[in-house]
Amino acid sequence: MSKTILIDPVSRIEGHAKITIYLDETGAVNDARFHVTEFRGFEKFCEGRPVGEMPSLTARICGICPVSHLLASAKAGDDILSVRIPIAAQKLRRLMNLGQIVQSHALSFFHLSAPDFLLGFDSPPAQRNVFGLMAAQPDLARGGIRLRQFGQTIIELLGGRKIHPAWAVPGGVRSGIGDDEIKQIRERLPESIAVAQQALQLYKTLLETYHEEASIFGNFPSLFMSLVGKDGAWEHYDGVLRMVDSAGKTLCDIEPHHYADTLGEAVEAWNYLKYPYYKPMGYPDGMYRVGPLARLNVCTHIGTPLADAELREFRQRVGVDGVVSSSFQYHYARLIEILAGLERIGLLLDDPDLRSTHLRAAAGINQTEGVGMSEAPRGTLIHHYQVDQHGLITHMNLIIATGQNNLAMNRTVKQIAQHYIRPAHQANVPEGMLNRIEAGIRAFDPCLSCSTHALGQMPLHVSVLDANGQVVHEKMR
């Protein structure tokens, strides 16, 4: 009799999701699906609103990465106004995005995923959370929490608040930064860099322990996509959108206004999350990954000394011919990006342009279509708006990072389930095995467009269903 195992909700991710594992007659894994169970509707209810409202309105999509939406939206607005924003505004936006990348990556690594690495995938779930981490490794937990706070502080100093700052606007930004704020940020940089370096050292020592997981957690060839600088450098705010193949060879540079020629969006009936794919290869073969792993696979170099040294080691240690294919190494890439972000913050603080008071370009509606792209912590974010002659939204399409990783996340779930769930388990799959399946999803740090943090306290609900949908076994943790 075929059975279904349901992991609902998936915990320690941002948002609401569940995993269904379909077993065949022998108890082996037939298929596995990652379902996003929340529906938001932003693309619809933003219709009819003025384009100037979009940055702060779409920022409400998420409480973890509001800055990503704020910036992609403001850039789409810049495009509609047809303005080249003041240089200070551009650099301040970069500074805020770096703060965002640092805080979000710190949250993903220290708060959400480190409990798995440091306490063990099979450790009791009651301790396997950030509080358990505080008890077991207080210095690391404190360092991680302070690192996240550092990123959040940058956002607050620039935008007036940590979450949902209404700061970036079409044409620029609303306020600048003063000497005191720059001093405050500068003072905490050395401590933050030290924490990032310690975490990297620790992660490298764990690579041996988790050799099996690293080889199973979403380890497959795929395309990768991210923004890169014109010289191929790591980029997070501007530049060109590049798609590379599984060997790291550039397939194409995507022109923002024509992204739809290259990226298709498929829909499945069982999921609220769409499935973007690389059109020339069709669906679902055109699977590509975005986010920290993709950014480090796409770029040629980072451009700051500490991060570049780490990038070289990363490619040698876990890559094949310089390309890293295991989604487990999203964690590694994330830590390198924290370091890269911190180094770039240091460089920006020394930039005299930051102190200019010319922050906002004024213009009317000059185009009826605009596309804005930025690198969110979880990958490339695309905001695409069409407006009427007065600037009211007539059509909106948002392509979020987690959506672009959807195909890869589903494949990851299946790969892990097939490896760890054996016919011998019957209905009693060990909890640690189910946690590994969730951890495979956590490696992508999916942000299901929502500010819900579960922090490991949400119960894991596993239902085993027979072919008729009847619950034959139920387990709560």
């Binding site: 003025p50 100037g52 409202e53 702060s56 309105l57 409400r60 209404a166 044409g171 007065h390 009211l392």
Partner: protein, 236 residues
């Protein structure tokens, strides 16, 4: 000529022809208002300043009710507090007010009033009407989602600017503010682009184009200043 009346148990004196609201204000008693604005006439549209008259037990708006000798007025009773909260809740339920993403967030009289009456939630079903936004004007916009039909814009444009661009159409729940003869604001040739309606609006309904969340700060006292200066011929 001076008249004597009782307000909340205290004897106060007021000028003949004065409204209860003005008399209370002179006596240092605060009565909440929403559609009232210094510089333009009162219409009693919002009912926020309702007070109780002893004897009849009637509830009357303090802004449009004149004082009389021996009047006994109560502005501070549990029943009035409850009614005022109900009124604010009804206003919120009638259109689509979303403070978090509103241009007037932090500078909104409706928001201030909600805090004043202790509105922690709305007990009535939201109507979620499909309202439009008029951004056809080159400088300003009108978002009907946020309009509370206080008619301050109508009175300001009529009484201070003298252009009478704004008015109200239809009746009851279907009432709407309109510009010109219900034309897009940008096509109304009587509009002088003075922006007084933007300043008068208590919410984020009328806003400067391009304004984003919490950017609409309004200097409403300037309107009363203009009117007084003109009446007193302070410029000549």
């Amino acid at each position: 000529m001076s008249k004597t009346l009782t307000l909340n148990g205290q004897m106060i004196s007021a000028r003949e022809g004065e409204s209860i609201l003005d008399a209370a204000h002179d006596a240092g008693v605060s009565i909440p208002t929403l559609c009232h604005m210094n510089g333009v006439g009162d219409v009693g549209a919002c009912r926020m300043c309702l007070v109780e008259l002893a004897g009849s037990g009637k509830l009357v708006p303090a802004c449009t009710t004149k004082i009389s000798e021996g009047m006994e007025v109560n502005s501070d009773t549990p029943q009035l507090h409850e009614y005022r909260r109900m009124l604010v809740e009804l206003i919120f339920s009638e259109r689509n007010h979303v403070c978090a993403v509103c241009v007037a967030n932090g500078n909104c009289e409706l928001q201030d009033l909600a805090i004043y009456v202790g509105m922690d939630h709305v007990r009535y079903d939201y109507l979620y009407p499909a309202e439009s936004i008029d951004v056809s004007h080159p400088m300003f916009g009108m978002d009907h989602n946020r309009c509370i039909l206080c008619t301050r814009c109508v009175r300001t444009c009529d009484e201070i600017e003298g252009a009478h661009v704004w008015d109200i159409t239809a009746r009851g729940i279907k009432s709407h503010t309109i510009t010109g003869l219900a034309e897009p604001w940008g096509e109304v040739n009587t509009c002088t682009n003075c922006g007084k309606c933007v300043m008068a609006c208590p919410t984020g309904a009328i806003f400067k184009l391009g304004a984003t969340v919490a950017e609409m700060e309004k200097d409403r006292e300037k309107l009363a200043f203009l009117k007084n200066a003109r009446e007193r011929r302070e410029w000549v």
